[in-house]
């Protein structure tokens, strides 16, 4: 695939950054604006940019599994969080949350507030990424 050098150089810079940013807004999504949907979209934009600059094969090498499995895994994960509550004898999709004390380099510990729905949000993240990347990928292949 013939793409411009500028795009390739830009992509090298942008793609990792966007992926990190996606992970960041996923983790912070419960407290500040963000969340699984946005994170999934940002991640998929990054992956699509990668695909556009380096081609479909490169994308395949980058992802450990086909993006279609993302959807299956994400859906299972999301449904699984519901079932965990159910197995504990609570209504479906009951959530729990708490604080995670993370040690930091500056001494004082950082309290990360976790919630069980983050697993659900991770499912959303994976489904969105899988759907968007998969759709664009299959349509791009049609052109070739």
């Amino acid at each position: 695939m013939c793409t411009s050098v500028i795009l390739k150089v830009g992509a090298r810079l942008i793609v990792p950054l966007s992926l990190v940013f996606a992970v960041y807004i996923y983790f912070k999504g419960h407290q500040t604006p963000g969340g699984g949907f946005v994170a999934g979209l940002v991640a998929s934009v990054a992956l699509i940019v990668h695909r556009m600059s380096f081609g479909s094969d490169s994308l395949r090498r980058m992802l450990p599994i086909s993006e279609r499995y993302f959807i299956a895994i994400g859906l299972t994960l999301a449904l699984g969080t519901g079932f965990i509550a159910f197995v504990l004898g609570l209504p479906f999709f009951t959530s729990a949350h708490g604080y995670l004390h993370l040690p930091t380099t500056i001494g004082a510990s950082y309290d990360f507030e976790w919630a069980s729905v983050m697993a659900f949000d991770l499912g959303v993240f994976m489904v969105v990424t899988g759907v968007v990347v998969g759709m664009i990928d299959v349509l791009s292949k049609e052109i070739q």
């Binding site: 807004i25 999504g29 419960h30 407290q31 500040t32 604006p33 963000g34 969340g35 699984g36 949907f37 946005v38 979209l41 940002v42 998929s44 934009v45 699509i48 279609r68 959807i71 994400g74 859906l75 999301a78 449904l79 519901g82 159910f86 004898g89 609570l90 209504p91 479906f92 999709f93 009951t94 959530s95 729990a96 949350h97 708490g98 507030e113 976790w114 919630a115 729905v117 983050m118 659900f120 949000d121 499912g123 959303v124 489904v127 969105v128 899988g130 759907v131 968007v132 998969g134 759709m135 664009i136 299959v138 349509l139 791009s140 049609e142 052109i143």
Partner: protein, 885 residues
């Protein structure tokens, strides 16, 4: 037994078959023995789990309960009472035999077994679920699962249009009944406020529910419709013989021994609630049941195909069971007139399943057409064994002396006799005649089976049909098994039928083996003393009825009457209905609205929208008062909004005008980005972020698609005035509706804040409970939604806005106590709503996303494989054949 353990054991019993069935798909196809063993684990596992339960006789036994969605009454409530446990036992017990029989039936056909067992296991789970569920909605879910698995199994030969038609017929009939039942149960639940059977029993006992009111009667009729379609009552009986297109293991299992009894089972579940209170109960059920009983037997005797004969006798027996529950409405000796309902159901399974199993076996080695089976007994050793067991089972069908069947039929006659005795209603003499007639037909069927199979063989050239699957689904190629697996063709049947005789001949065998399953056993014992074995039957009307039936039956069996083939006129009901709706009424009615032009549909919707708006204001434009809230900001505050409004409106107006497609895509993108800006202005950072990323992706998508579709020569577009008018009218309508909706007071919510006042809107509830809650709702504690209740606190000690300090005090104040519960644990309320409060919604949404993606992949992949789309034959419907005159 601890309730929690009970819950999990019951859940395990229900889902054990399904899990085994699913796991069996992981075993590679050629490994038949491991597959068989794994599948056997399903019903056997279920049996083991169920065996932990002692029987609570009578209704209202302990229930097992897990909350699912308490606010919507969707909970997993299970009820291991006598009837449910009996039914679950029946399903899994017969299931074991059928699994083995299927192995003999399909032989070494690894592909069929691979496909067949999981379906069978879905069914088994569904039916055990039906038997054990207490909650209406759970019941309905399993109920529909049985319909679906039945559909899949009837349409087993998916290449044969007739069997697919039969499957659709069965599915549509039982599905329609299921919908009626769903409506009835929802209505019942809404009307009484009880969503479980147990709750209903208690409510009825305590007189909380006004029975006999019109709503209850309507519920009863709707529920009975569901039961009647499932249990093939007249005039819906036609689907059951049609369902015989399924492989014989399915016929033996679903369509005789278990699934068709589900309707009877539901009637049995409801009779304690309805029979004594709804006066219509006997007048509806008895005539339908009795007619079905006689009619089924009458048709059965005139059929020649073994499976058809047994199918119609099944219809007849189902009618008998329904009548039995109908008769329960009367009292005898101060007790409901219901004797050994469980025994009746069991008895039928104990002879009908073997009949089907052996009919299938005979069909497997020869043919199923009775006239061609003349002298089958003398063919070879295997034939002899099969004939003997078929006749033994047939003797059960005829309710001959020394079988369990004989006692069961006596019990049924006793019920009629009791009703006659109590009410002195001469109409019951009709029922007496119906009982005798049914018995007579059954005896005659047995006599004819006997005389045909045992007739001296004529010198006829030996020929081997393999007609069982005359529809040629390819069993013929499979070599027949020998040894143990070949014996599996008849062994399960022989095993089941042996109980008929063990219980019929040996005194007290029935008592030890099965009678503990039956709650109404003591009733009979109360005044007649003992189980009515054949040799100590009481003289009286019931015994005379049996004797008359047997005498007449023998005469009819040898007689020349009713030997022609008679086709049930109801067979035409469904094809007729289908033809009528799809060929005449449908096209006529739909032709008016379904024009096939997209513009017409869209135009109709839009015009209707504007029309509804005009109608809602009554055409009186003076009502449209400019709301005061239209502009509340100063000009400088409005400036960014003005700019964005300008952008959005400009792009929206330009889009229809510009013809260049690249420009159009860019305009669409501009519009999307401007909308993202609007979200930002509206203090919705999540939305702005999402919209921005979505807009990027959809621009890429659009460009991709446009490059796949060639640019057509730009048409000079004639300005269509109609479009313009509709567009402007829609725009004005929406403009006004949006403007006026912003200032309107919203209805208050059923949630209370810390001061005990209703919250003004739902958004406030989410805001308050997003991190952790300090409010409660005006609903009972057990139904608190959105979090786990930790403790109740005094409302006066909590300040509504103290989001962090409200977790401490515990003091309950009446019903409106303030409950502190864990909220979503997040500060970003939008995200908490999405993943927590409305998690189900989001779950559905990502499912839709996944489905859309799969749709895209499938659509685009299909082309690569087949190379063409335009094959209308793919889409041709496979409805039933039009009516043949």
């Amino acid at each position: 037994m601890q309730p929690e353990h009970a819950t999990w054991l019951l859940m395990a019993a229900i889902f054990c078959p399904l899990i085994c069935g699913t796991l069996s798909l992981l075993i590679p196809r050629p490994y038949i023995l491991p597959r068989l063993l794994l599948i056997l684990c399903g019903p056997i596992g279920a049996l083991l789990m169920l065996s932990h339960f002692t029987f609570h006789s009578g209704v209202g036994g302990a229930t097992a309960y897990v909350e699912w969605m308490p606010l919507l009454h969707l909970d997993i409530a299970l009820k291991p009472d006598h009837l449910g446990l009996f039914f679950a036992y029946l399903v899994s017990g017969i299931g074991v035999c059928i699994v083995l029989y299927a192995r003999g039936y399909f032989g070494k056909d690894a592909d069929s077994l691979f496909r067949f067992y999981p379906y069978l296991m879905i069914f088994m789970t569904a039916l055990i679920g039906v038997a054990l569920s207490d909650n209406y909605m759970l019941l309905m879910m399993f109920w529909e699962m049985t319909s679906i698995s039945s559909f899949l199994l009837i349409g087993w030969d998916r290449d044969i249009p007739q069997s697919v038609r039969n499957a659709m017929q069965a599915f549509i009939v039982t599905g329609a009944g299921g919908l009626c039942m769903l409506a009835g149960l929802i209505f019942l639940g809404v009307h009484t406020g009880e969503w479980t059977m147990t709750g209903m029993y208690h409510a009825v006992e305590n007189g909380h529910v006004a029975m006999n009111s019109t709503p209850i009667v309507v519920c009863f009729i709707l529920v009975f419709l569901g039961a009647a379609t499932k249990s093939a009552q007249f005039p819906f009986q036609f689907w059951l013989p049609g369902a015989m297109a399924a492989p014989t293991p399915v016929s033996a299992y679903l369509h005789s021994a278990t699934m068709v009894k589900a309707g009877v089972f539901i009637t049995g579940r409801f009779w304690p609630i309805l029979a004594e209170h709804v006066h219509m109960w006997p007048t509806v059920i008895i005539p339908i049941g009795a007619f079905t009983m006689v009619y089924g037997a009458y048709v059965a005797i005139q059929k020649t195909d073994l499976k058809k004969i047994f199918a119609y006798t099944t219809v007849s027996q189902l009618g008998l069971l329904m009548t039995m529950y109908g008769l329960a409405a009367y009292k005898y000796d101060g007790q409901p007139n219901l004797i050994w309902d469980v025994t009746q159901i069991l008895n039928h399974a104990l002879y009908k399943a073997p009949l089907f199993i052996l009919a299938g076996a005979i069909g497997h080695v020869a043919t199923r057409e009775l006239p061609d089976l003349k002298g089958f007994f003398y063919r070879d050793k295997q034939a002899r064994i099969m004939t003997i067991f078929l006749l033994l089972a047939g003797y059960g069908l005829a309710a001959g002396p020394f079988t369990l069947s004989f006692s069961a039929k006596e019990m049924f006659f006793y019920q009629i006799y009791h009703a006659l005795h109590e009410t002195h209603n001469p109409m019951f003499w009709l029922l007496v005649c119906a009982g005798i007639a049914t018995g007579m037909f059954n005896v005659a069927i047995f006599i004819r089976l006997f005389t045909t199979l045992m007739a001296k063989p004529e010198a006829k050239p030996e020929e081997h049909h393999h007609d069982d699957h005359a529809h040629g689904h390819g069993h013929d190629e499979h070599e027949h098994e020998t040894g143990f697996y070949a014996a599996l063709l008849w062994l399960p049947g022989a095993f089941i039928v042996s109980f008929q005789y063990i219980c019929g001949i040996i005194p007290y065998a029935y008592d030890t083996l099965f009678a503990w399953l039956d709650p109404s056993k003591d009733f009979y014992d109360g005044f007649h003393g003992h189980f009515p074995m054949t040799w100590n039957a009481h003289l009286g009307l019931p015994l005379y009825m049996s004797l008359i039936a047997i005498g007449l039956g023998i005469a009819l069996g040898f007689g020349k009457f009713l030997r022609g083939t008679f086709n049930d006129p109801c067979d035409h009901l469904y094809p007729g209905f289908y033809t009528l709706t799809t060929k005449y009424v449908g096209p006529g009615a739909f032709g008016i609205v379904q024009r096939g032009h997209a513009g017409f549909y869209v135009g109709a919707v839009l015009v209707a929208m504007v029309g509804l708006f005009l109608w809602s204001i009554g055409g009186d434009f003076s009502q449209l008062v400019w709301p005061e809230t239209a502009v509340t900001e100063s000009f400088t505050q409005l400036l960014p909004g003005l700019l964005l409004t300008f952008m959005v409106c400009l792009t929206a107006i330009l889009l229809p005008i510009v013809m260049n497609r690249a420009s159009r895509v860019l305009l669409l993108g501009m519009c999307g980005f401007s909308v993202a800006g609007v979200y930002y202005l509206y203090k919705a950072p999540d939305l702005a972020l999402t919209q921005l990323s979505i807009e990027i992706v959809s621009l890429i998508l659009f460009l991709l698609v446009l490059s796949l579709v060639p640019d057509l020569t730009p048409k000079t577009r004639k300005a269509v005035p109609a479009r313009l008018v509709i567009g402007i009218a829609v725009g004005l309508t929406m403009f006004w509706m949006t403007l006026s909706s912003t200032g309107v007071d919203q209805p208050t919510m059923p949630y209370l804040n810390a001061q005990g006042q209703n919250l003004p809107n739902l958004g406030e509830y989410f805001l308050r409970n997003s991190h952790h809650g300090v409010d409660t709702m005006a609903v009972p504690e057990s139904q608190t939604y959105g979090g786990i209740v930790t403790q109740a606190i005094d409302p006066n000690e909590v300040h509504a806005n103290d989001l962090d300090d409200a977790v401490i005090h515990a003091d309950k104040e009446g019903q409106k106590s303030v409950l502190v519960h864990h909220g979503g644990g997040g500060n970003n309320v939008v995200n908490v709503i999405l993943v927590d409060f409305r998690g189900f919604d989001t779950m559905g949404e990502i499912t839709v996303l996944g489905l859309a993606a799969m749709g895209v992949w499938t659509l685009l992949r299909r082309r690569k494989k087949s190379g063409e789309y335009n094959d209308p034959s793919d889409f041709e419907d496979s409805g039933p054949e039009p009516l043949k005159s």
